[in-house]
């Protein structure tokens, strides 16, 4: 044991003297590993960021909410067939609301885009959502100001609206929006509340650039197809009750949409789970491809190390002969060159990490993420491994040298 330790220390000294003696060459060889480690760690960080961003925004969909829609999430079915499905109607939603026993909350959701104006100020492309008094509790959001639609307001289709936080801050930078009159498209509404800031869905669609109005008013003013093309959002009492809630919901929908027992569903009940599955599949493929491509650069770096180790062994043939002459066994010679290759690669790994870390902070500005500790460890492990693997053949050759031939080498 003590033997090995002494030889290991000598191996370390041996490699550092060799690396120091050929600074330029070592630096250039290490560059391959540096580039490899930078790309692999950044790819790892980006993938991590993507996962994180996805999980954060998917959480906004709620694990316990079912989304009854015309189209299923995740696709996979014939789009033309799906397109021919009848729209979901307000009557469907009413039937659901009336008949459910398990579900906690049921709300109706429909939407369009319009310009929202207050005085001289306006915001374009705001999503106007027609819904009812159950909405806020279904999605589990809170209000920043005022109140949400009451049952009377939604049943009566009153001209009142609740603003998303982005819309509110654009139109009312220094004013209290409550009670103010705003124009949604050509129609006049009175603001009664502001929803708390929500963030965005998958980094694309802002959930705050919205205005909520009673669905019954929405149908009259924003759509000409009466009471159709809506979504029904249903909140299960708990995540464990999700499947039961879904089954009941399906039964109610099939009945009110007059489907024969053998007909397939002509509606989709979507849930967070589907998106997660789809994302995991796509994300997994992207991660595999990305890591494979960046891994190639590491592979090329490894080849560079192997090449330079062969040079190093040949250069030091005479030294190897001498070491063998004074009693170095094969394993020690092998170990010395393996340590040298590993040290080169580890240096590359650490330099690579030192470069990748600030770059990951740049990624962070686009995609909130940080270099995970696991990536750091894996990077170090990988560079060690690359060193050992690519150093093995040259080191093996060195260990097998005949001492007489090696000493005679010029």
């Amino acid at each position: 044991m003590r033997h090995y330790f002494i030889e290991f220390k000598e191996g370390l000294g041996f490699s550092f003297r060799a690396i120091r003696a050929n600074k330029m060459r070592s630096a250039l060889t290490t560059l391959g590993i540096v580039i490899g480690i930078v790309s692999v760690t950044l790819m790892g960080t980006a993938i991590e960021g993507l996962n994180g961003a996805f999980n954060a925004s998917i959480a906004k969909l709620g694990a316990d909410v079912l989304y009854v829609q015309k189209f299923p999430w995740g696709g996979g079915q014939d789009w033309w067939m799906l397109r021919n499905r009848p729209d979901l109607t307000f009557q469907n939603a009413k039937a659901v609301a009336r008949d459910v026993t398990i579900a906690d909350k049921v709300t109706v959701v429909t939407g369009t885009q319009a310009t929202v104006k207050y005085g001289q100020k306006y915001v374009e492309g705001v999503i106007i959502i027609g819904t009812d008094n159950q909405f806020l509790e279904t999605v589990g959001s809170d209000l920043a100001l005022g109140r949400f639609l009451t049952q009377q307001e939604s049943d009566g289709g009153r001209p009142v609206c609740v603003l998303g936080s982005e819309v509110a801050s654009s139109l009312f930078p220094n004013e209290n929006p409550l009670g103010k009159t705003v124009k949604l498209g050509n129609f006049t509404y009175r603001a009664i509340g502001v929803v708390e800031k929500q963030g965005s869905l998958l980094g694309v669609e802002s959930l705050d650039n919205r205005v909520y109005v009673p669905a019954l008013r929405f149908f009259g003013e924003f759509t000409n197809r009466r009471h159709s093309n809506i979504q029904i959002w249903v909140k299960a009492p708990s995540k464990t009750m999700l499947d039961d809630t879904k089954e009941e919901l399906r039964g109610i929908l099939r009945k009110t949409r007059h489907l024969a027992p053998r007909d397939p569903d002509n509606f989709a009940i979507n849930q967070q789970e589907i998106l997660i599955q789809t994302f995991n599949t796509i994300g997994g493929v992207i991660a595999a491809v990305g890591l494979f491509i960046t891994g190639l650069s590491l592979f090329v770096g490894g080849i560079g190390i192997m090449n330079i180790m062969f040079v190093s062994v040949t250069e030091r043939t005479k030294e190897i002969g001498l070491r063998k002459a004074v009693g170095a066994p094969r394993r020690t010679i092998l170990m010395q060159f393996l340590i040298e290759a590993a040290a080169l690669c580890l240096m590359g790994g650490f330099i690579g990490l030192a470069i990748a870390y600030p770059l990951s902070l740049i990624i962070d500005t686009v995609l909130p993420t940080s270099m995970p500790l696991s990536v750091v460890f894996i990077a170090i492990l990988i560079s060690l491994l690359v060193g050992v693997i690519s150093g093995f053949l040259p080191a093996f050759r060195a260990s097998r040298m005949d001492p007489v031939d090696a000493l005679r080498y010029e």
Binding site: I6, L322, V326, G327, P329, R330, R331, D402, V404
Partner: protein
């Protein structure tokens, strides 16, 4: 008991279809504290014999016993161990590690002998003092003269207190005055009880030994005590 016992050693190299017979049946015994010079023309097989005696190489046929131990059919790693414990080499071209200082060069055999750092440093310093280089321990080989480098090599050969010191033309790369100094050092080492085997072309150098073995074409031609033995007194030997 003799330290070295060679019985009809042959060494044959295969060069393509041609066979080169470097040694053709060499038998030789060398006892403890002998000082032997091996002489012969170029290509006669001196180095080949040295390499076999030094366990760097194994004979094609024949038996070699070193301190009563049969080394003729040991494997690589066993031979490495024997070299480490029993043999001290001095080469014509010094063969020092250029990037390491003198002390580390001398420590090298002890490292492979598994000796701990403090003990190792102590032994290496003693060996360097023995060859008169106690004040050059932190120098790099290229900061030393040829004679000093060869002294470092001698210290490295000595440091493990081996059974035999083997020197293959140790003065071949030195001028005659420096060569004489090194020979003086060998003389002292012999006087202290070391067994020394020396390969040389030069009669002058061989004259320092007590016994001269002449090789010709892979065979021992003659083996006799040195006639006009030269003894030189060096400053080190006078103080010692």
């Amino acid at each position: 008991m003799s330290v070295i016992k060679l019985s009809t050693i042959t060494k044959m190299y295969q060069m393509g279809t041609e066979e080169v017979h470097a040694l053709r049946g060499v038998s030789l015994e060398i006892g403890k504290n002998e000082y032997v010079a091996i002489m012969g023309p170029s290509g006669s097989g001196k180095s080949t014999l040295m390499n076999i005696i030094g366990c760097l190489d194994t004979p094609t046929a024949g038996l070699y016993e070193l301190n009563g131990l049969n080394v003729s059919d040991m494997n690589d790693n066993q031979l490495a161990k024997v070299r480490n414990k029993e043999i001290g080499f001095v080469f014509q071209t010094f063969n020092l590690l250029a990037r390491s200082d003198v002390l580390h060069n001398v420590e090298l055999p002890l490292i492979y002998g598994g000796i701990g750092s403090t003990e190792r440093k102590k032994m290496a310093k003693e060996a360097l003092q023995r060859v008169g280089l106690g004040d050059r321990m932190t120098h790099k080989p290229n900061e030393l003269s040829g004679g000093q480098r060869q002294r470092v090599a001698v210290a490295r050969a000595l440091v493990t207190r081996p059974s035999i010191l083997l020197a293959d033309e140790p003065t071949g790369n030195l001028d005659s005055k420096t060569g004489e100094e090194i020979m003086g050092l060998f003389e002292d080492l012999h006087r202290e009880g070391n067994t020394i085997i020396l390969v040389t072309h030069e009669a002058d150098i061989a004259a320092h030994a007590h016994r001269v073995v002449r090789i010709h074409d892979g065979k021992i031609e003659s083996d006799q005590p040195s006639k006009d033995r030269k003894v030189i007194l060096t400053p080190t030997s006078q103080t010692a």
